[in-house]
């Protein structure tokens, strides 16, 4: 059976072809221009794909499938792409952040050609992860994304960039090793890599390893990516030392690959385990939230502060998934998915504005900053919107995700959710403290000749602010789609959780 609508294939390979063209023919500013054109086209394409996804119909759509791409009888890999309600918003997110990343690196002057080439490869690989429905293909894209990120951090980064890049690679590969064992074990148990069939097949198959072992093998890779305590230590280093564009992509979409995997693999293929071990997820989620927030309060480097805040915010994703135990799994899971999308735009915006501030003021050390709002009102407004969204202010997308997660997890985990609420207060603390120290207060003399954002800097800020506010004011644009995708997964989980009692 071969189906081909071509849009998703195009979405993956458009940036990759762009990257190849840059590698072969273009230099300097021309490379940048082509990267901009490519990501613009990609944004249009991903938006089109998002709109084309029919949420009334549900299921997998826009399928591209060639059977037997690796055609051995004992090892059959299909080229199989498709989106459902879970992946469609994440594809859109990747489209949005792709163009943001290009604008974010507008002033890169060192080895421009390679920089934009790697950015495009990265975007293509991430879209590949979100659209692959063949487990092997999924794994290929999962690994492919490492290469561009490694170079982006180690060449254009700051500080201990080689150390951080290496750390990032080693952590992810460690997780991938477990993931690969899991994937292969599943294949040898069920004889298929088809992720759409696997949930049903696993239920009836004679597994070569106990299901809970497979569950942990696969989820550990995702947990490292998300990241979950105690596997989070790569994140502050990688985020802090990465160049702005890489930080945006890293926080914006690469972390979401972990969350996405938890839904696509852990929750959908192992519904019983996710319910049985939801106590573990809830515990780790709570640790992430409070531990991350407590560390964030002490940070004096802007980027490190945002990086640790991501650890805290990703804890909410875990807490939402942990709602699997109760009758409100639907709310929790949708909240977790919303949190992934919204954290992508919010943290993207935080890294973006902070990156611009760093470019202008040449420091990210908070005590050296202050009173910048006078010199750069536009960036101040951008940082304020991002900060307020990060602390979950209503009217921004952060609130929607947070409230849905609380609604979902509270019935299942009273005390965990109540304690997690302390994280909300701490978040308000460190965000407002940061904004106050950087933007408010008397303007410092040495900042007298700083200028506000230029037009290429304003565009990405405006794009992200708009997406934060749109989802915040009318979340149904995203939540309806997520809901369609999560419906079957949640159905399985809820029936097990409720029946199991």
């Amino acid at each position: 059976m071969t189906e081909f609508s071509g849009l998703l294939t195009l979405a993956i390979f458009l940036p990759i072809v762009g990257a190849i063209l840059i590698a072969l023919f273009l230099n300097g500013k021309n490379a940048r221009t082509l990267a901009l054109i490519t990501t613009l086209a990609e944004l249009a394409l991903t938006s089109y794909i998002f709109l084309l996804y029919d949420k009334e119909k549900g299921g997998y759509q826009l399928v591209d499938k060639f059977e037997g791409w690796i055609p051995f009888d004992t090892f059959r890999v299909d080229y199989f792409l498709g989106i459902d309600g879970l992946s469609a918003p994440l594809v859109l997110l990747t489209g949005i952040l792709g163009i943001v990343a290009v604008f974010a690196s507008w002033s890169v002057s060192v080895r421009m050609k390679e920089h934009f080439m790697w950015l495009l490869v990265l975007q293509g690989a991430v879209i590949g992860v979100f659209t692959s429905l063949d487990f092997f293909l999924f794994f290929l894209f999962w690994e492919l994304e490492l290469i561009p990120m490694f170079f982006l951090i180690s060449i254009w980064g700051t500080g201990r960039k080689e150390y951080s890049a290496m750390k990032f690679i080693i952590f992810t590969i460690l997780g991938s090793a477990f993931l690969l064992i899991g994937i292969l074990s599943l294949y040898f148990s069920t004889n298929t890599f088809d992720m759409t069939l696997l949930p049903d097949k696993i239920a009836g198959a004679n597994l070569i390893m106990p299901a809970s072992v497979l569950f942990f093998l696969t989820i550990i890779g995702f947990a490292i990516k998300l990241p979950v305590f105690p596997f989070h230590t790569w994140l502050p280093d990688a985020h802090t030392d990465a160049p702005t564009a890489a930080s945006v992509m890293l926080a914006g979409v690469l972390l979401k690959m972990g969350g996405y995997g938890m839904f696509r693999v852990s929750a959908s293929m192992f519904p019983e385990q996710i319910v049985d071990y939801s106590w573990l997820l809830a515990t780790l989620g709570l640790i992430n939230i409070l531990y991350g927030a407590a560390i964030t309060i002490r940070q004096t480097d802007l980027k490190r502060l945002i990086a640790y805040s991501s650890v805290s915010h990703m804890g909410f994703v875990l807490l939402g998934i942990a709602a699997a135990k109760g009758g409100t799994a639907e709310l929790g899971m949708n909240g977790a998915a919303l949190q992934m999308f919204t954290h992508g735009t919010i943290t993207g915006l935080l890294f973006l504005t902070v990156g611009f501030i760093y470019e202008k003021a040449h420091t990210r050390y908070i005590p050296d900053l202050g009173g910048l709002a006078n010199r750069m009102p536009f960036l101040a407004a951008g940082l304020l919107v991002a900060g307020l969204a990060s602390l979950g202010l209503p009217g921004t997308s952060g609130f929607v995700a947070e409230i849905t997660i609380f609604m979902g997890s509270f019935p299942a985990w009273h005390w965990f959710a109540a304690l997690a609420a302390i994280g909300v207060v701490l978040t308000a603390g460190y965000i407002l403290w940061m904004i106050q120290r950087v933007m408010f207060g008397p303007q410092l003399l040495r900042h007298n000749n700083l200028s506000d954002a230029s037009i290429p800097e304003m565009i990405p800020v405006a794009i992200l602010v708009a997406s934060i506010l749109v989802v915040g004011i009318y979340p149904a644009v995203i939540s309806d789609v997520f809901n369609t995708g999560l419906d079957p997964i949640v159905g399985e989980i809820t029936s097990y959780a409720m029946g199991g009692k």
């Binding site: 209503p394 409230i403 408010f440």
Partner: protein
């Protein structure tokens, strides 16, 4: 939607909508318009005020059924959250207060803020604030209310920090946001507990379910307490009041609107709204009353010794918010709401009066730097006197009537102990009002700028005079007239208007005694306030610093939260990262040196290892 949403009381949603639309309009277009777009914001709130009258009359003419309009917001599977508007007696009263005060304050600001380099931004923030505040009182479900509630908090944050290049203003803004957020988190959890118990956010459905025994008592108890925590944060109840005095860093008209008349009243409004729930568990009612009473007395005492005129008014606001909460706790929601309106008008009046003074004296705020202003600023003196007497509770000004109803309810529901303490609070109120008035306006000018003070311009006097007129006559609505049964009966079903004559007389005597005491100390100087201060030295110094509440918070933040943060951060770097991660990396390196010794190149050793491995794998498989 079958009902017409554009006529009569149904059109109430337009009132916030106008201001909300005015916000982006002034932000983006303001700079191209005359007056930086200030008129757009004023026009929006003016139309809102006009609409309020339409809504009121339509409501009175028979549309007395509370109206709902629902809009889908988010829909997750079985769960659905809708936005709805509720127009009932309580929300109509609040609409009137908010639109009226906001309109006057914005007009006042036209002159007061003239020359500020963020003039347009100031008015857009006012539009934003007014819109969110109006949404709070129109929301028919708790989540929507919370939504607007937080936006109100944001408006307040931005307005307190309006002069953000002053470090103190930025600091105060942050403090206000975080302190209220502590309460808000409680509110949110309370809301979610109720959602879990009833499956809805709808206020009337929740109350209906609770009244019919559909919710466990313990659930009601905890959720009510948590919701009240939210109300405490917003309404500056002890011990979450610390942000309110600092909020005076904002422009004075902002203090008048937000930190006296409207936003701080939101907590009282919420408590009034949720009283049917609170009433189901008597312990909650008692807690509310106690917190209110403590706040009433505590803040009053601090106001007695504070010398910054705006901070005196701020502490007085906290104190009166406590009185309102006390009233809610005794079940007298009508009286609470009445006092909310009366206090809102009187306090807005006083703040704008203080604004006039500051405008005339080069932004001085210490009351000892004024003196003798009654000759320089006769109109301001007159209106300040009206505001002071009203708050002191002197008949026939409006404050007397609202306080009287509260006292009646305290007497009937809580007994003598509460009544006596409340009367003491009334005495303190009268005393600090007379103190601040006499120091500021009588005697001789103490400084040059007090000497050179001048009366304000007409555009600043007009709103103040209008407020003064309302503050003077508003007490009338307490009385039944024609088929109107008095304000409290309008709000509170089943309330019968009554006066307890001896209590009214006692309360009036106490208030007059308070004024006289102030007169003795600060006008006639028959007794020395300095001698008093040194006699009660420790108490006096404690009151000056707000009884160390701020220091306690600082201690908790610096010595507990931040210290814990530092500890965990160090743990994360040293234990988790350096030992756990880098350490294992290093041990891999080290062991690699050792392990290469195993690479013997001899087939049989590899074979042994392999056999062992297979055995292990089988064993693992077997065990599981």
């Amino acid at each position: 939607m079958s009902i017409d949403i554009l006529t009569g009381a149904n059109a109430a949603w337009l009132i916030p909508a106008l201001s909300i639309i005015a916000f982006p309009t002034t932000v983006f277009l303001g700079r191209f318009l005359p007056g930086k777009g200030s008129f757009i914001s004023i026009l929006a709130i003016f139309l809102g005020f006009i609409l309020f009258w339409f809504v009121l009359f339509d409501f009175l003419s028979g549309n007395s059924v509370p109206l709902h309009v629902d809009i889908d917001w988010i829909h997750i599977g079985f769960w659905k959250i809708t936005w709805g508007f509720l127009v009932d007696r309580i929300s109509i009263v609040m609409l009137g207060l908010i639109t009226f005060v906001a309109l006057l304050v914005q007009i006042y600001s036209l002159q007061y803020m003239k020359g500020d380099n963020r003039y347009g931004w100031y008015f857009s923030l006012h539009a934003f604030f007014a819109g969110s505040m109006l949404l709070v009182v129109l929301a028919d479900n708790l989540l929507f209310l919370y939504f607007a509630w937080e936006l109100v908090g944001l408006g307040s944050y931005l307005l307190i920090g309006f002069w953000f290049d002053r470090r103190s203003a930025a600091e105060a803004a942050k403090k206000a946001f975080i302190t209220t957020r502590i309460g808000d988190v409680g509110l949110l959890i309370g809301i979610i507990i109720l959602f879990k118990a009833t499956g809805t956010f709808h206020i009337s459905s929740i109350i209906h379910a609770a009244q019919n025994g559909g919710v466990a008592d313990s659930t009601i108890f905890w959720s009510s307490l948590l919701i009240f925590l939210g109300a405490m944060g917003k309404s500056g109840q002890f011990p979450l009041h610390v942000w309110l005095p600092d909020a005076m860093e904002g422009p004075t008209p902002v203090s008048a609107l937000i930190h006296a008349a409207t936003m701080v009243a939101a907590g009282v409004y919420l408590a009034v709204r949720m009283t049917p729930l609170f009433e189901l568990v008597p312990e909650v009612q008692v807690t509310v009353a106690l917190v209110g009473l403590i706040t009433f007395i505590f803040a009053g005492v601090v106001a007695l010794v504070t010398t910054d005129i705006k901070r005196v008014l701020a502490y007085s606001t906290i104190s009166h918010l406590g009185l309102m909460m006390l009233s809610v706790g005794t079940g007298a929601v009508g009286a609470a709401l009445f006092h909310l309106v009366v206090h809102g008008i009187s306090k807005a009046l006083l703040f704008l009066g203080a604004g006039n003074i500051m405008h005339a004296t080069n932004d001085a705020t210490d009351c000892w730097s004024f003196g003798g202003l009654k000759r320089k600023m006769p109109i301001t003196t007159g209106i300040f006197l009206i505001g002071s007497l009203s708050l002191a509770g002197i008949a026939p000004l409006s404050g007397f009537f609202s306080k009287d109803e509260i006292l009646g309810s305290v007497y009937q529901n809580m007994g003598y102990a509460f009544l006596i303490i409340t009367l003491v609070g009334g005495f303190i109120s009268a005393l600090y009002m007379s103190r601040i008035f006499l120091i500021t306006f009588t005697g001789d000018p103490r400084t040059d700028f007090a000497q050179n003070a001048h009366e304000s311009s007409r555009i600043m006097l007009l709103p103040v005079v209008m407020l003064a007129i309302v503050a003077f006559f508003l007490g009338m609505v307490a009385f039944p007239m024609w088929d109107f049964n008095g304000f409290s009966a309008f709000v509170e079903q089943g309330y019968k208007f009554h006066i307890i004559p001896w209590l009214a007389i006692v309360s009036l005597m106490v208030a007059i005694l308070g004024l006289l005491t102030g007169w003795v100390f600060y006008y006639k100087s028959l007794l020395s306030h300095r001698a008093m201060a040194s006699r009660f030295g420790l108490f006096y110094r404690g009151a000056l610093v707000g009884f160390w509440v701020d220091s306690i918070y600082e201690f908790i933040i610096n010595r507990v939260v931040l210290a814990l943060g530092r500890l965990i951060a160090a743990f994360d770097r040293i234990v988790v990262n350096d030992t756990g991660i880098d350490g294992s990396g290093k041990s891999v390196l080290l062991s690699a040196f050792k392990i290469r010794l195993i690479q013997t190149g001899k087939i049989y050793s590899y074979g042994t290892a392999m056999a062992f491995g297979v055995f292990l794998a089988v064993a693992v498989w077997w065990v599981f």
